[in-house]
Amino acid sequence: MDFLNSYIGLIPVTMAQSLIYAFVATGIMLPFRILSFPDLTSEGAFPLGGCVCGVLLSIGVDPLLAMTVAAMAGFAAGCTTAFVHLRFGINTLLAGILVMTMLYSINLRIMGRSNIALFNYENIFSNIHPDLNFDYTMKIPFLAALIGIVVLGFFWFFKTEKGVGVRAVGANPEMAEAQGINIWTATIGGVGIASALSAFGGALLVQSQGFADVNMGFGILINGLAALIIGEAIIGRNSVLRQLLAPVVGAMVYYQLVSFCLALGLPPSDLKLATGAFVLIMLALPTLKKGKAGAVRPEKLRE
């Protein structure tokens, strides 16, 4: 029962961590589900946010401002991906890979080295309360409130006249255009906001863990996708609210699962294989159920 004790001991830490990753999972969900724009930019935007925030904190910039700049940098990255797709007709996934790859070099340039320790600088947690970062009875509600605001914000937005228009762009671009909606604005803005969320998650994480690292994005996309799929399996995606809650709930469940598997003795190096296999099975399930694997396209996505 040793493993159980070590797992239980880690529950609060994992929970706080998963609430931070919920930002990234939401940033993955928005383009993928709402805009039908499968996007890989998060893998670069997440460390971008971390690096920008880390560097700014290390030169004494106010944490709130540092996080705002980090989110804006993520926004620019997402806009770039969307623009590359729209302007040059490059497949959305490839556009995302291009931007993400270029971001790796940019992130290194921004930091000037591969990691920065941030223990000795002010951060958003210590700014609010000296113990906020280490007292999980405060940290978890704080992070939950942050992601809650994001979910509520989107829930409100998608009910507005503008928001319904944005959803139409994902549901049927040709129809949306014929109804007077500017597809470029909606797509560029939407993918931009999504990447801003990922970058914001990165900025939160570096402050929570006390260091920024250019490699911190490695595998974040597949983790976020796994979280999203778990969340959708649990609460569905039949309404806007469910679709918005799915990545948050999914992230919380997914990281507990991971922590549990690690406590059980799964070598961390096998984690990516396990996660990848899990996502693959979940994505393949609908086609397998129909009995004609590969013959049907489960998702209608933009080319």
């Binding site: 009910k159 507005t160 503008k162 139409a168 549901a171 129809m175 255009e177 007077g180 909606i181």
Partner: protein
Amino acid sequence: MLSIKQLCKTFYPGTPDEKTALDHVDLELDTGSFCVVIGSNGAGKSTLLNAISGKLPVDGGTIALDGEDIGPLPVHQRARLLARVFQDPMIGTAPGMSIEENLLLAELRASRRSLKFGLTAARRRLFRDRLALLGLGLEDRLDARVELLSGGQRQALSLIMAVSTNPRLLLLDEHTAALDPRTAGLVMEATVRAVAEFGLTTLMVTHNMHHAIEYGDRLIMMEAGRIKLGLGAEEKRGLTVEELVARFQIADDKILLSD
């Protein structure tokens, strides 16, 4: 008033596949006029409508609506002035969204979308009344997803979406062709009613000769990218399918056989 001058469109120019779809087309359509367009397959009817809606960039010529040159405007800006119903019921609606959300999208076609709550109680009442006119029972399913509707129901919804904002020009491209005869009749009736009620300037493409005779106050035929012949309201009255075929020397079996 729609005024088209010397509109040209050639696909794959300078290649062996070169195809002139619009050959210096001139067309004047008075406000409130309901013009039916016929012509054999590949005559350029859809190309003409796509050029007007902005879907297809043209090689030359001008398109003006009520004196405003709409040629330079992208599709989403022309949508402020014109509405269209496509032949394929799947194109005209957003499948994953509800009936009322689809109607809301159309409702705001001509206006700026604000950050105000979209589906207000007043709007939902309005949508319910509009759908009730169709007699398909859609008014009781406002929150149902459009993907659950049949092709005919979706097309009827597309039509309501197109006409209800009182566009300055309505483009219909064989919008009943994919439907069974009963639903086609229903959608056609709803079309005529709306066009008359709002006095919409309409351009309707059809392969159905009976529809071509029965509806509209003007009839034009396209052939090889040109408007070959036109009939006004006077000449249209009392026209029979046989006369029409003889008049236009229609050599298209598909048209002759259609009912």
